[in-house]
């Protein structure tokens, strides 16, 4: 009996295969295919929710739950090995949540080849879920690389005018980073082989490797390059505005909502705990790039005439915060980064959906073409305001929690970064509110903007849950933060235990957080070795192939 995680990966794939057998009748009324794909994605969402319901988020629980493992390529110790901790759980649910929404946004914007589009969307969902669940590094890479293909087709086939350029740029950029990670992954497995005598791609076993520092630097850079291109971090962000402006609305929703998070997740799960010394060494570099991204992304966003491009650059800025929190390598920072990823997924996903709706109505996304929409579309305006405020990070909304925790964590580490990052908070208010003002307020100057229809039922189904999530995450952050905490704590302990003195030297003693307790004084359950000793309990289900 396959476990829930396998079901979550497999059900979209089965859905996609079944879709292939449904005849394609082109045209916007292709209801059967649309409802079928939506149904499959809702089932997958239900599975991810069931995983959440069954997840034990207490600190004493097993580090990885819902574990399933079966040999895949035994000659090299490659396994089908999936399992989640609090960190992946949240991203898993986010994927489950956003895919049906993205499919709904496709109902108006995608009119040709609906079947193929739905197939690609479901395959994309399956591989993204795989990325967040895989605990075997090889398996992770397989999913990680596969994600590119459906997204490439989505941008290339259903995108706007420059779609081919954007699609090719997207796939080449991200692949160039990924293949170096593949080399590093292979190198890791060989290191495991020389040190222990057996091949392994098991992440938890690889965590235990004592890699010489010089080697760590190279491997860390290879992994990190793959991840920061995906995030994307300045100066590797140039593919993102192109991909976003050219992608169809559902593609943008998934790209911003989930795919960028794969980069942040990869850093937290792989690059940093696998190479702790290197991570501590390069953290200032990452942080410097991240504050540049925060400010640069915001400044460029401010001057964009195209709404979609504006939101894309705002993503660069917001994801810069994520990297800053990760680079701090303390509990607040990483937790904040993880939370910010969820928040950004919801609010930017929603922003792209809203821009898509405007673009469906007017067939333009240029800000100056709009103005005074509030008069004709009060409900749309209200929802847009909620989302805008959540993106800015208004207290009480989801964006605030993440940014606050990140800055808290970064401040404990090195306050200089926070000073600059805080500029990004101010600037985000500037560009978002300015756009909001120009689009929705003022007089209707363009006759085309008169009599635009307000939110339809389908559109409510898209933005309603997103707006609710934006508020809910802001009001009750602990629902999301609590499952993450043990996972984040473990990762931070693992890294900081390698070099406890380094951070102490930088900071005043009064700010000493728990994670920087020297290795000998730490309570037993947080020792890194416990990840392996605790593993037998975590085997909830085992599938035999």
């Amino acid at each position: 009996m396959p476990g829930l995680l396998t079901l979550a990966i497999v059900s979209p794939i089965i859905g996609a295969i079944l879709l292939m057998f449904i005849a394609n009748r082109d045209g916007s009324k292709d209801a059967l295919i649309r409802y079928f794909a939506l149904g499959v994605s809702l089932i997958t969402f239900a599975i991810t929710l069931a995983v959440w319901a069954g997840f034990d988020s207490s600190a004493s629980a097993a580090p990885f739950q819902f574990v399933e493992r079966a040999p895949w390529i035994p000659a090299f110790g490659i396994e089908y090995y999936v399992g989640i901790d609090g960190l992946s759980l949240m991203l898993l649910v986010l994927t489950g949540f956003l895919t049906p929404i993205a499919l709904l946004t496709s109902w108006e914007s995608i009119e040709k080849k609906v079947k193929e589009f739905s197939i690609f969307m479901l395959l994309l969902e399956a591989s993204m879920i795989g990325v967040f669940c895989a605990l075997d590094v090889f398996l992770f890479y397989v999913f990680w690389d596969f994600v590119l293909i459906p997204m490439y087709f989505m941008i290339g086939i259903w995108g706007y005018d420059q779609r081919i350029y954007a699609a090719v740029k997207f796939i080449l950029y991200t692949m160039a980073g990924s293949v170096l990670m593949l080399v590093a992954i292979i190198g890791l497995s060989w290191m495991h082989q020389t040190m222990t005598g057996e091949y392994s791609f098991d992440l938890l076993k690889l965590y235990e490797l004592q890699i010489p520092e010089g080697t760590q630097y190279w491997l860390f850079l290879a992994f990190t390059l793959a991840f920061i291109i995906k995030v994307p971090l300045f100066p590797f962000h140039t593919w993102l505005p192109d991909a976003h402006t050219q992608a169809p609305t559902p593609g943008s929703v998934i790209l911003a909502g989930v795919m960028l998070k794969m980069g942040g997740y990869g850093l937290i799960r792989f690059a940093i705990p696998l190479f702790p010394e290197a991570a501590l060494y390069f953290a200032p570099v990452l942080a410097t790039l991240s504050v540049i991204a925060i400010v640069y992304g915001a400044l460029v966003a401010m001057v964009q005439p195209d709404m979609k491009k504006l939101v894309a650059y705002s993503s660069v800025s917001h994801m810069g915060f994520v990297i800053l929190g990760i680079a701090a390598i303390n509990v607040q920072g990483i937790q904040g980064a993880s939370y910010q990823m969820l928040a950004h997924g919801v609010s930017t996903g929603a922003l792209f959906a809203l821009v898509g709706m405007l673009s469906d109505r007017r067939h333009t996304r240029t800000i100056s073409e709009f103005g005074g929409l509030k008069a004709g579309m009060p409900r749309f305006t209200a929802v847009a305001l909620i989302i805008t405020l959540s993106s800015i990070g208004l207290p009480g909304m989801n964006g605030f929690i993440g940014e606050f925790l990140i800055m808290l964590g970064a401040f404990k580490w090195d306050p200089r970064f926070v000073v600059i990052a805080a500029l990004g908070v101010i600037l985000s208010a500037v560009y978002m509110l300015w756009m909001f003002q120009r689009v929705f307020y003022g007089k209707v100057t363009n006759d085309h903007n008169k009599g635009l229809p307000d939110l339809s039922f389908r559109e409510w189904a898209i933005v309603g849950p997103l707006a609710a999530a934006a508020i809910g995450m802001g009001v009750a952050p602990n629902v999301f933060l609590k499952p993450m905490e043990p996972a984040v704590q473990r990762i931070v302990d693992r890294v900081q235990s390698r070099q406890p003195l380094r951070v102490e030297a930088v900071l005043p003693k009064t700010l000493k957080p728990k994670s920087r307790v020297p290795a000998g004084d730490r309570p037993a359950p947080t020792r890194p070795q416990d990840l392996t000793t605790a593993r037998p309990e975590t085997v909830v289900a085992e599938v035999a192939r």
């Binding site: 040999p71 895949w72 390529i73 035994p74 000659a75 090299f76 090889f138 890479y141 397989v142 999913f143 690389d145 596969f146 590119l148 293909i149 490439y152 087709f153 290339g156 086939i157 779609r163 081919i164 699609a167 090719v168 796939i171 080449l172 692949m175 160039a176 293949v179 170096l180 593949l182 080399v183 292979i186 190198g187 497995s189 060989w190 082989q193």
Partner: protein, 479 residues
């Protein structure tokens, strides 16, 4: 088995016999009679495949110069697969292009005999014999469309350069024989090891000349110049056959000679092959980007794949040897499939292999476009296809021997190659059809072959462990 002496050559006997029967059958054929000559060829190939399976683990030997160890049997099975798929894809092109069916299939079978002998031979002179048997047959196949100037020109170029390379090869054998007094690979190895001759200039010269000969056959840079022209001029199905069969056979012999015969002096030749492998990967992919003819594009891609195979050879470890075998199988399926699609879209007058010909193929032939995409993704090394596992396998071997640089060049060049594979995908899916004539209808038999190939590509991508195990077992007996 009949008698111990002939065991090892039974697979080749089956194919030879089939070739003779095919020739005879053709001569008895009435003027407009339809004769399933391809079927006869397939029967012979199946026989060779069955014989190879029966000989598994037997380590049979014939006449002291031909062996049937698992390594060569694995290669035999790949060649049988290549042969069968080629015959299937040929079934309609032979008719369409009015090729002389009997000669076409017979020459193809003789080429396969040569290929099998290359994998099975344990003596340098027999390898040379095999090389010539294979090459001459392939020259003929290249030029089999006598009504086309391009085809004849390609065959002639290929023949001239090929003959040149063969003589290099023979010259290399002469030097090695002169120093060691043997052409037997096993004794060569012991002679070199015993007298620690690895620095001997005559040996180095001999090894160098052998590298030139082999590099020519696997189309490695800088001895690759013939291949784009020959690949473009040859009938498309033959191109697929050449790019997979010839490469598999040449690599098999390359591995045997260098990792067994010249293994004691690996420190001398590995750096040379390192550069050849790196240059082959880079040139193959970078020049491939500039092509507009699909056949030329895939010719350069096939050069690049030769480079990846050489990376496994440079690694020289057990992982590398098994990786080469796996790679050959994966690559054969994928590349044959890709050429199969191109062949199906051609007509008698034009091979329709220009990039523009593929514009909007998705709309006119959705199935073919999907199949082609899967083959291209596999060539580009995307999961979950055979190509991905194969690339991971060879690079794993290279890294295992500490060749990080080669692996990095390899993966980066594969990103470049993705660029031109995607150009085809862009044409098929993202460009609207212009006013070109609609390509011909799909031939069901050939389509069946393509579906089989795609199924194999996906199967090896998702469940590769069976073949990986087999490849690992194949190398234990000889090295």
């Amino acid at each position: 088995m009949i008698s111990g002496q002939f065991d090892a050559i039974i697979p080749m006997l089956c194919v030879t016999l089939a070739g003779l029967v095919v020739l005879l059958a053709e001569s008895f054929r009435g003027k407009n009679e339809n004769m399933p000559i391809g079927g006869l060829a397939i029967i012979g190939l199946l026989g060779a495949g069955a014989a190879s399976i029966l000989l598994w683990n037997s380590n049979a030997e014939s006449f002291g110069v031909v062996t049937a160890d698992n390594f060569s049997l694995f290669v035999n099975l790949v060649l049988v697969g290549v042969g069968i798929l080629t015959v299937i894809f040929s079934s309609h092109t032979v008719e369409r292009d009015r090729l002389p069916a009997g000669e076409y299939y017979a020459v193809m079978l003789f080429a396969i005999v040569g290929m099998m002998l290359m994998g099975q031979a344990t003596d340098l002179l027999v390898i040379f014999l095999a090389l010539e048997t294979m090459s001459i047959a392939v020259y003929v196949l290249t030029g089999i469309r006598k009504d086309q100037q391009q085809s004849t020109e390609a065959a002639f170029k290929y023949f001239l350069l090929g003959a040149f390379a063969s003589s290099f090869f023979l010259y290399g054998i002469a030097f090695l024989y002169g120093v060691t007094g043997t052409t037997n690979i096993e004794r060569l190895s012991t002679a070199i090891a015993a007298q620690s001759m690895s620095g001997n200039p005559m040996i180095l010269l001999g090894a160098g000349l052998l590298i030139v000969g082999f590099a020519f056959k696997v189309a490695a840079v800088p001895f690759h110049m013939w291949s784009p022209d020959a690949y473009e001029g040859a009938p498309t199905v033959v191109t697929g056959f050449m790019s997979t069969g010839v490469k598999a056979a040449a690599i098999a012999a390359f591995v045997r000679v260098f990792l067994k015969g010249l293994d004691p002096m690996i420190a001398d030749w590995a750096p040379v092959l390192w550069w050849i492998a790196a240059a082959t990967m880079v040139v193959g992919t970078v020049v491939g980007v500039a092509q507009t003819s699909l056949k030329r594009m895939l010719a350069y891609s096939s050069i690049a794949h030769g480079g990846y195979l050489l990376a496994g050879l440079v690694a020289g470890n057990d992982v590398g040897k098994a990786a080469i075998l796996f790679y050959l199988a994966a690559y054969a399926l994928t590349n044959l499939g890709a050429f199969g699609v191109i062949a199906m879209l051609g007509t008698r007058e034009r091979s329709n292999d220009d990039l523009r010909d593929y514009a909007g193929l998705w709309h006119s032939h959705p199935v073919l476009a999907t199949l082609m995409t899967l083959f291209l993704l596999s060539l580009g090394g995307f999961p979950p296809t055979a190509g991905f596992i194969a690339k991971w396998y060879v690079f794993s071997a290279a890294i295992g021997s500490g060749y990080y640089g080669l692996a990095i060049i390899g993966v980066l060049s594969s990103v470049v190659s993705v660029f031109f594979y995607l150009r085809i995908v862009v044409m098929m899916y993202m460009t609207d059809r212009d006013a070109r004539p609609v390509p011909p209808p799909v031939n069901p038999v050939a389509l069946g072959g393509l579906v089989v190939a795609v199924a194999g590509v996906l199967y090896l991508g998702v469940l590769p462990m069976g073949l990986i195990d087999l490849a690992q077992k194949s190398i234990t007996t000889i090295f």
